[in-house]
Every structure is written in C-alpha cells, then in structure tokens.
Symmetry: C2
Subunit: 411 residues, 2 copies
C-alpha cells in the first residue's frame, strides 16, 4: 500500500551514524547535522512523474519524498510551485540564451524560508513539539513564527537588530516571543544555545540543528526540475548564507537520480556570496573542505550575512560534486542588478536574489557559463521585504498642480 | 479552429452601445465604463473544465476568456492561481463551518492588482500603446509600473503621499515617472485627466477607464470556482474601493453560467468598506443605484479609500442580483482581525483583507451568514506592504545576555 511518506531514517553525512526519525533528533553525536533518508527502492516502483499532474500545486505534491508521515500533521498555507520565469532581456544583456528565475517572492511570508518552516513545523507537530526556539537573520524567524501559530506551537525568536524591520513585525503579529540582539546571527545562535541549556523542553529549530527544514528547501530543486519537464539545466545559482537551500537542491537532485527521474548529468551549482561575507568562497578558492568564521561580516544582502555555516562542508561537497563554483559580489553591483531586473523584467527582487544575476553575468564574462546554456537563478525573496534598497525622490505636488516637464520620458 | 481569445466586442452596460476591441477604447460616449464581451456560444462547444488540468497555473490558463488575442502579447510573471486556504480556527471563532481565504498576498507585487496589470498591460501592448498614465492608491500603480517595464512600456503614476510607502519604491525601481499628491486618489485622478488633455498620445489606464483591467481581476472568480471544483460557495466577501474585483468576480460568474460550467445559483456577494469611507454601503442602505462622493474619507485600509467609484452602479447591481450585502467596518476592528488571522492561522494579511473577516463575523452574528454555509473571504494583498499596521516592542539585548523571564510564554 502506498505510504504518505517514504522516510526511513536519519543519517549523519560525516560519521554515517543512523538515528530514528520517530523521535526528536538534532545534531549527530559527532556534531554534524543529520540528513533524512527515504526508502527510495520501494518508492521507485510506486511513484512516477505523471502522478504529479493531478496534484495540488503546494510543495506537498511531493509528500512521498517529505518527512511528515501523516497528512493530518501537514501545516500548510499552500506554499510552493513558485514561478520559474523566463528573463529574456536580462539574458540578452548577459549574452545567455536561456535565463530563468525561480521566484520565491510569490510564496507565503514572501521568502523561500516558508518552505523550511512548513515542513519543519509540520514535522515538529508530528513529533509532539509544543515550543520552538531559533536564531535568525529575520526571514526564517518570520516564517517559523507564522507557521508555528498555524500549528498552535509557541515560537521564541532571536534576531539581529539590523535584520529587515518587517520580519520583526511578522514575528510580533504571529504572537512569537521576539528578542533583538545588537550583533550578528552567530551571537543570536549563542544566546539560543544558552537558553536551551536552561530549558531543555524547548525544541531547537536552528538552521540544520533540526533535520527537516532542509527537506522543505529541497522542494525548490524538485520544482525546478518538474517545471523544466525533468530536463536538467546547466547551471543553478543560489545566494548562499547558511546554504540550506543549496544543500537541499543538491539532495533533491540525488534523490531524483535514485528514483530514475533524471539521468547522470547534474546542473553545476554555484554558491553566490557577498564580498562582505564570503567564507564559502574563500574555502572554495583554497580547496578546503570546511570554511572559517568570517570576521566583521557586512552586506546589504542581509540574508546571506552568515559568517560560519554549520553545513559548510555539505555546501562545498555539492559544489565539488557538480563541478560548480563559488563567487562573491560587492554590494554596489548587487543593487545595480536589482534595479536592472526591475527595469527590464518587471520583477522587484531581494538583494540576495540580485546577487545571483550579478554572478551569472560575471561567470558568463569569464566564459565559465556558455552562451547556449540554460541558467537558473534563485530569487530567494520579495523585494517588498527590503524597502531600504530603493530610494524614491518623487516630487510632492499639491492637488491641481500640472505634472511637470519630466513627464513621459521614454526609456 | 480554437482561438486564443474569444473576445468579440466591447459594450456599454448603461446605454448598450457597442465598440470594437481592435482599437484603443476608454469610456463610452455616455460616460460609463465599457465591458468586454466574448463569443461564448462558440466557446461553449470548444472548451471544457477538464481542458484546464494540463495547463500552467497562471491566470492565462483561462486565455479563451481573456481579451488578449495573441499569445505573443502576453506579459506575464506567472501571476495567478493563488491559494484558497481553509481557515479552520477563524471559522470556529465565528461559528462558521467552512471558511476559506483567497490569498492574493502570494502573487507578483504582493497584491491582486497584479492581475489587472498583467491583462491590462498585455492588451495595451497588443494595441500598440507606448506610454500609460494612471492615478492610484499605491498598489495598482506599483503593479502597472512593473508590468509596464516588462512590456517595454513607459508608465506615469500619480499617487497620494499617504499611500503605502513601499508602493512608491516599486514604481521607482521599475523606472516609472512617479508623482506624489498631497490629497486623495480623486485628486490624483483629476491631475491625470488634466495631463491627458495636454498629451492625448498617453494611454489612460485609470480604473475602469480602460476595459481590460477588470478582465484580469475576473480571474479571481474563475479560480475560486475552479478551486472549489465548480461548486458555488454561499458567500464571497470582498474589500470594496473602486470595486473592480467585485465587478470582475460577478462578471466571471455570469460567464461561467453562460458556459454551462455552473448552474443558476450564485454566491451572495458582499462589498466590505471602511467606516471612514463607505459610499457603497450608504447607497446600498438607501436603496440607490449609484453612490455619492464621500467627503473627508479616511481609513487604515488605504486601498479601499475611494470616495467615489466610477463603477459604483455595477457594484450595486452585482450586490442586488446576488442578494448580497454591503457593510462598513471600523479601523480598530480591522486591526484586531488582522492580528487574529496571524495568531490563529499564520497568515499576515493586509487591512483590506482583514476587513472581510470582520464583516463575515458581523454577518454571522446577525444571522445573515448561516453556520453551515461555505464562506470565502478575499485577502487582496500581503501584510508585508503595510508595516505600519503592526507595532513591535521586542527587547534589544547585548550579545551574551540571557533571555529574560518572559521566555516561552504559552498561548
């Protein structure tokens, strides 16, 4: 009989130790994050791409490959199947034939964090969790607060005071316990760890410290492939902070291979960072398997201001295995690309997403991306959450004033 | 041979005069807005609900019933098929069995205005328009600016200085000519009209002054019915400013009847206004066929601050024909419902959308909505665009501080 989920166990990607998925689990005893595995041998015989045609458009269409075992525990706001839009004028400006943007701006909470929150909170509910805690650069905290409310779970969130202000308000209106810290996400993480020692009944929902957020993020990879009719693109560029999305996309690709839905060839994965916070790029360039803490990090692309990612070794492994790349972009270039995408393609994207366009342009200039390749950029969030990235100096007129001579400029 | 669009002509709903859809048209010579008609007799034989199953999820899945005649003119960011989410805890709090929210927060630009802009701009492109102008309460201007950029059309936008600030930034990053006015949308409208006299080559994209925006909005009605598997709900509540969405939903229902996809029974349509701007409610209560200008209008739900709607007679006709209702909500109640929706259901909605929940609650209390009925509220936009509706007083801590004793409150 078909199962709702084909989850089989959790496994440490470093020391290979196995854990049961039926109990609350966090890091492996060796300190590495745990990854979910599935009974793909059974699933392969039961599940085919055609089965998806008649399913709803939320990410739960892939429920067999998600960790929640009962449909009753699914906490959903219909997140998923975000647009994969062609960007023909941006493509032309770069000299690339096929440029597509996976747009995570059109999803509940306005960022891709909704995916991790939907699956993470659903699994927490299934495991009987009543109260979660996490550090965040803003968007994840907002998404987890809102999904926690839908699930009836209490959330406690610690975020840097410089995180996008709107994310604070999302946590507040959701009824979360919110704390701001005059520091970075790494400082918030330490305060969460200290709190967990005093209140072990809290569920640690920190990035990669619970194994299920990544399963939600993985669905970006499943959707990109389904939207391309299971034709593998040449390059996927991802704005890399904690890197869960990139690790998730790579995990999705491997699972699709095991299912036989795609062949041997994988897209080259690119981790895009900010020049002001580029630990993965540094490790990549030095050929190392892990990154070092990046001191005094700073960037307008706040979501990727992560000085040391717990999953750095998984990110670097994914780049290596796919013959990918790691590249850093300066803030000024990020904001230029953000504006260019709006003016040419009509999409108001977040700075993290804009960085991936800048990266595509630079990699095309270098010749690393070829003209005829199919390239996918990942816009992780809506520009609406980053009002400070745009300055408007529109004239203020009294009623009845004639519009001035600047009117109807042509482009 | 199947046609991409079955548009046949434009017609004045007041004096019944007919116009050609192949040329630019604005108001009827009698002053009323024009509506699009389709060759539904031909379409009925060609097109069936099952045909939709294999189509993409944008609103263009209904292209036969949209006015754009060539697929080459479609300007799209994959807008449409927004979630229709169940709201079980809100339903329970009101004593309603089936409460669903159509959530237009998950669409490009974060509001339902994207629908009107996508179809309006596509048709403008098909008609050879190079430059548009419009007054706006913010969100429509933002959406039209961005879609205009995607189409390569220049936009000129006039908006009240009190419109949501983010919408200014959307216009600016899209490259629109933006003017702010120290007044209401009615003042902006007069300034646009004056400008049009001096520059008749500009295309007037004001609400209902071009006939195609409503066709985009109509798709909300088509989607709600498709998402309910063509089962007609009992009540649909809509936050009513200019009322184009409500007129559009009513138009969609009538067209679905003519197609034979739904039967005689229609949902009762409810126009929800703010107490500080309720011209439709006043006209409804007085049994009039048109509304009067509402002086000194003011409400936190800025999108419905429209003192006099050009399509008022069409709104009132739709309410009457469906045995609907018109109701006004005060701002404090709006903000309470907005918070309740976030705390209970995990959705951060706009104040206009919150007003529809308040209206449902009041109409249930009155007995006008029955316990066993299926009720659909329309959330027209994302709460992210209204940061000022939420105050956050989270404590600011130094790195290393212990989280205080307010921690992990239970709900």
């Amino acid at each position: 009989m078909p199962r709702f989920s084909y989850i089989s166990h959790l496994q440490c990607p470093k020391c290979k130790k196995i854990y049961a998925h039926t109990e609350k689990q966090h890091l492996c005893s060796c300190g590495a994050p745990l990854l979910v595995d599935y009974d793909i041998d059974s699933l392969r015989a039961q599940w085919h791409p055609e089965d998806l045609q008649i399913r709803g458009t939320s990410l739960w269409r892939y429920h067999e490959l998600l960790p929640v075992q009962s449909a009753h525990h699914v906490v959903s706001l219909s997140e998923g199947m975000t647009p994969l839009n062609s960007m023909p004028k941006m493509a032309e400006s770069m000299g690339i034939k096929h440029l597509l943007m996976k747009d995570e701006g059109s999803i509940p909470t306005g960022t891709f964090k909704a995916r991790g929150a939907a699956v993470g909170i659903s699994k927490a509910l299934e495991l009987g969790v009543k109260s979660i805690i996490m550090p965040t650069n803003g968007n994840a905290g907002a998404a987890w607060s809102l999904y926690a409310s839908r699930a009836g779970i209490q959330a406690t969130i610690v975020m840097p005071v410089e995180a996008p202000e709107i994310t604070r308000k999302e946590c507040t209106i959701a009824g979360a316990n919110l704390y701001l810290v005059d520091g970075l996400i790494s400082d918030a993480g330490k305060m969460v760890a200290a709190e967990l020692k005093e209140a072990p009944d809290l569920y640690d929902a920190s990035t990669l410290k619970e194994p299920y957020r990544i399963e939600g993020k993985k669905t970006m990879g499943l959707e990109i492939l389904e939207q391309l009719d299971w034709q593998v693109p040449d390059v996927i560029l991802y704005p890399c902070g904690g890197g869960v999305g990139l690790i998730g996309i790579y995990k999705a690709l491997r699972e699709l291979q095991r299912l036989g839905w795609i062949g041997d060839r994988l897209p080259r994965l690119v981790a895009v960072q900010a020049e002001g916070c580029a630990p993965i790029v540094k490790a990549w360039e030095e050929g190392r398997a892990e990154s070092e803490f990046w001191p005094h990090s700073k960037t307008v692309a706040f979501g990727i201001n992560v000085p040391k990612a717990l999953g750095d070794f998984l990110i670097l492994e994914a780049l290596k295995a796919t013959e990918g790349y790691a590249i850093a972009i300066d803030d000024e270039t990020v904001l230029q690309e953000q504006q260019r995408v709006a003016r040419l393609e009509g999409a108001f994207i977040c700075p993290e997403g804009a960085a991936t366009f800048a990266a595509a342009r630079q990699l095309r200039d270098k010749g690393w991306i070829k003209a005829e390749e199919t390239v996918v950029t990942l816009n992780t969030g809506n520009g609406l959450k980053y009002p400070n990235t745009v300055q408007s100096d529109a004239p203020l007129l009294k009623p009845g004033t004639k519009l001035n001579d600047n009117r109807h400029k042509t482009k």
